[in-house]
């Protein structure tokens, strides 16, 4: 039996040794990688005579599916390819992950200080912890190379913290009221320009058994869009932004009236029978299949509306959200703005190369996303051939050209904690558990307590 014992010992030892060896080789690899990285750096800074050495840039984004029809995705992947072609010496390693899981991924990576060189993010409250944690590279010095003059004014507000700029904008996204002209005609209702006309249209459409407005409140943020635009019409973007920045109040008479109007829409079944059980995707399908006559949504749906297989292709128009009599906001104030960006890791190697790549990429993406029909460019300059741009996108561009104010998505403006509190209160209001006036009081108490 001692033979067995010996064998067991030998076996175990070899397993352990293999494990140790694996650890050893791992760390060896790492050190060699960092060595080559520093070589890279030396090469790129001293002389560009050795183009054989490629600089590797890691990039994360929420754009996961290259075959998506969403304009944002199309624009991103076109810009990525263009950037790869523009900088043959740079190897861009892109990782895409969609939606909520992407947010989790960058938060986890940030906690472990393992963020990539360039990563997609939202501005406002979402980015706040990254700034506070010193994870982001400030761009103030870098944009002095003429980049700053190329940007549409006001588009960097959501990426500026304590006077420092951390990200360049790509596009200006607006939420727009899409109307199905065919359904409006069959109901005999004119396209709404005022609140009363909107209510009349809702009643006329309901009489024809058409769901007046498609809304996927199950995903919460589509419901938030309605609350925001009503607040904007009643109180104006300045008041809304002040409340979101904690310099104003959510509990003012204008917003209370907006909350009552919000409730009124649900009570009159303007969103159909089961808006709270309907997801965003379901609501888009309702609109695309001609079951619902209106949709208040961001410009990213343009592509889907005018896609080849869409049943409402060519039947949809876009209008400014109706004005509300007695409201302080006017029809030229918009829900939306520029709030999506890419940030550069504060600890990035090859800062100059990354900046050149980043700059080129952002400008290209701005144009490509515009050409794909999902939002105007936040970069000035020639857009190239716009003949193939989606007619809805052009119309939105025309409508919003006279914009006097923007108020961005609340769930990006607010920090994570406030966002969840806001959604909880909003869904209580939507579900009828909270009266409109209580809703405003609760928002003020939870989000701006002590103010």
């Amino acid at each position: 039996m001692s033979l067995f014992r010996n064998m067991a010992t030998i076996g175990l030892t070899s397993v352990l040794a293999a494990g140790l060896a694996a650890c050893g080789s791992n760390s060896e690899k790492e050190s060699s990688a960092s060595a080559s990285a520093s070589n890279d750096h030396a090469a790129s800074s001293s002389a560009s005579s050795s183009p054989a050495e490629k600089i590797k840039i890691t990039m994360w984004s929420q754009f996961s599916d290259p075959n998506s029809k969403d304009g944002g995705f199309i624009g991103f992947f076109k810009a990525l390819e263009a950037t790869k072609a523009q900088f043959p010496n740079v190897e861009i390693e892109h990782t895409g992950l969609e939606g909520e899981s992407y947010k989790t991924k960058i938060k986890t990576a940030s906690a472990a200080d393992q963020l990539p060189d360039i990563f997609f993010s939202w501005g406002g409250g979402f980015a706040q912890p990254f700034v506070a944690g010193n994870r982001l590279l400030a761009l103030d010095d870098l944009v002095q190379d003429g980049t700053k003059d190329k940007l549409v004014p006001g588009t960097t507000d959501n990426f500026t913290f304590d006077g420092k700029l951390y990200g360049l904008p790509t596009n200006i996204a607006t939420a727009n009221l899409y109307v199905n002209k065919e359904l409006f005609e069959s109901a005999g209702a004119p396209l709404p320009t005022t609140w009363d006309e909107l209510v009349a249209a809702i009643n006329a459409l309901k009489a024809k058994n058409i769901t007046p407005i498609a809304l996927g409140a199950k995903d919460r943020w589509p419901a938030m869009f309605w609350n925001s635009i009503l607040d904007i019409r009643m109180g104006g973007t300045a008041a809304v932004n002040a409340a979101l920045n904690k310099t104003g109040s959510f509990d003012i008479p204008e917003f209370q009236e907006a909350a009552r109007k919000y409730k009124e829409l649900f009570d009159m079944k303007a969103f159909g029978e089961n808006p709270i059980g309907t997801s965003y995707d379901d609501s888009i399908n309702m609109f695309l299949t001609g079951k619902a006559a209106m949709l208040y949504m961001g410009a990213w749906v343009n592509g889907q509306i005018n896609a080849e297989d869409s049943q409402v292709k060519g039947k949809v128009d876009v209008v400014k959200f109706p004005s509300i009599p007695g409201g302080k906001g006017n029809v030229d104030e918009w829900h939306g703005g520029s709030g999506e960006t890419f940030f550069i890791n504060a600890k990035v190697d090859h800062k100059d190369t990354v900046w050149a790549v980043y700059k080129f990429f952002m400008e290209t993406m701005a144009k490509e996303v515009f050409i794909a029909g999902s939002g105007s460019s936040a970069w000035k300059g020639d857009m190239g051939d716009t003949s193939k741009v989606d007619p809805l996108a052009i119309k939105i561009g025309e409508l919003s050209a006279s914009a006097t104010g923007f108020s961005y998505w609340w769930d990006q403006m607010l920090n994570g904690n406030d966002t969840e509190s806001m959604f909880t209160s909003l869904m209580s209001l939507t579900g009828g558990k909270l009266a409109p006036e209580q809703f405003n009081k609760e928002l003020q108490k939870k989000l701006n307590s002590g103010k």
């Binding site: 947010k103 089961n274 709270i276 059980g277 379901d282 904690n417």
Partner: protein, 299 residues
């Protein structure tokens, strides 16, 4: 062989790999979570040590209106459903199958299928079934003339919680069935035949012979079901994410929410710590319950 196992060093060497793995992926994170629960940390920057400051807030003050205590009751309700419906039903199915029925293997596989399907698929499937606009359930009710019974199942407060928990109960019936089926199959035929000769058959044999024989497995099933209920996460997360707040919230979804959405790593870690302690306590309570029962029966 015996020489190997009588050698303490050899035992240590054999146990070590598993022990290291267990400590690294099981024990260390728990201790870490406890440490994090003492921090005021957004999960991104650096945290500040605040001690037990937030503990009271989670359970009593509830500054952010998260209603954690309510979510604990929700999981206890699920545990009750599991023990009262799931396990008796699984036992019944196991009994019928094990005592011989035509197509035994077919039914055994059939009941086990939900266990092999991932929870995400089951969640999405039930989302479709319960969809208020085009779901099978509402459509069927309409077709048979019960249109007034239609509900927005996952939205209305009365039906939301059960609409998540019943699929969860259904999903795991097959698992417990299989465990108990194997145990019942393991009972020796002689014992049952002897009972038959003594005049005990059918119901009497089930109560007096089969249940006591498979009691250890039933206990294991109950422990699994209760612990599984207390840390329930997947279907809630996929189907409602707690909406309508706080009706369908469970501790683990609130923990996820606190950490990843509200950026309150410390606050969420308190919930994690609570769940560890809760599950341990539940385990010991069940053990104690089984033991006192056994002693009671023995006397």
């Amino acid at each position: 062989m015996q020489q190997v196992f009588s050698n303490k060093k050899a035992i240590a060497v054999f146990v070590l790999p598993t022990l290291i793995l267990f400590v690294a992926v099981g024990f260390v994170p728990i201790v870490q979570s406890f440490y994090y629960s003492l921090l005021d940390w957004d999960g991104i920057g650096t945290g500040h040590f605040v001690g037990f400051k937030f503990y009271k807030d989670v359970f009593v003050d509830d500054t952010y209106g998260i209603q954690f205590v309510n979510s604990i009751w929700n999981t206890l309700y699920l545990a009750l459903l599991s023990v009262m419906i799931q396990i008796p039903f699984a036992f019944f199915v196991a009994l019928v199958l094990a005592r011989g029925v035509k197509g035994e293997r077919f039914y055994r596989t059939l009941f086990f299928i939900p266990v092999t399907i991932s929870s995400s698929v089951i969640g999405l499937m039930f989302l479709q079934i319960l969809n208020p606009n085009y779901g099978v359930l509402n459509t069927m009710l309409e077709q048979v003339g019960l249109g007034s019974w239609r509900h927005d199942w996952l939205v209305e407060e009365k039906t939301a919680l059960s609409s998540i928990f019943l699929p969860a109960v259904w999903q795991w019936v097959g698992y417990y069935m299989l465990l108990m089926y194997a145990a019942i199959k393991g009972i020796s035929e002689e014992m049952l035949e002897a009972a038959k000769i003594d005049g005990a058959s059918g119901w009497r044999a089930t109560i007096s012979i089969i249940v006591p024989s498979v009691a250890p497995i039933i206990k294991v099933c109950i422990v699994f079901a209760v612990i599984g209920s207390l840390k329930f996460f997947d279907l809630t997360f996929i189907m409602t994410k707690g909406a309508p707040q706080p009706v369908t919230d469970v501790p683990s979804t609130l923990m996820y929410n606190s950490i990843f959405r509200r950026n309150m790593y410390g606050y969420g870690s308190i919930m994690a710590v609570f769940m560890v302690i809760e599950c341990l306590l539940a385990y010991f309570a069940l053990q104690w319950l089984f033991r006192t029962r056994e002693e009671g029966v023995g006397r």
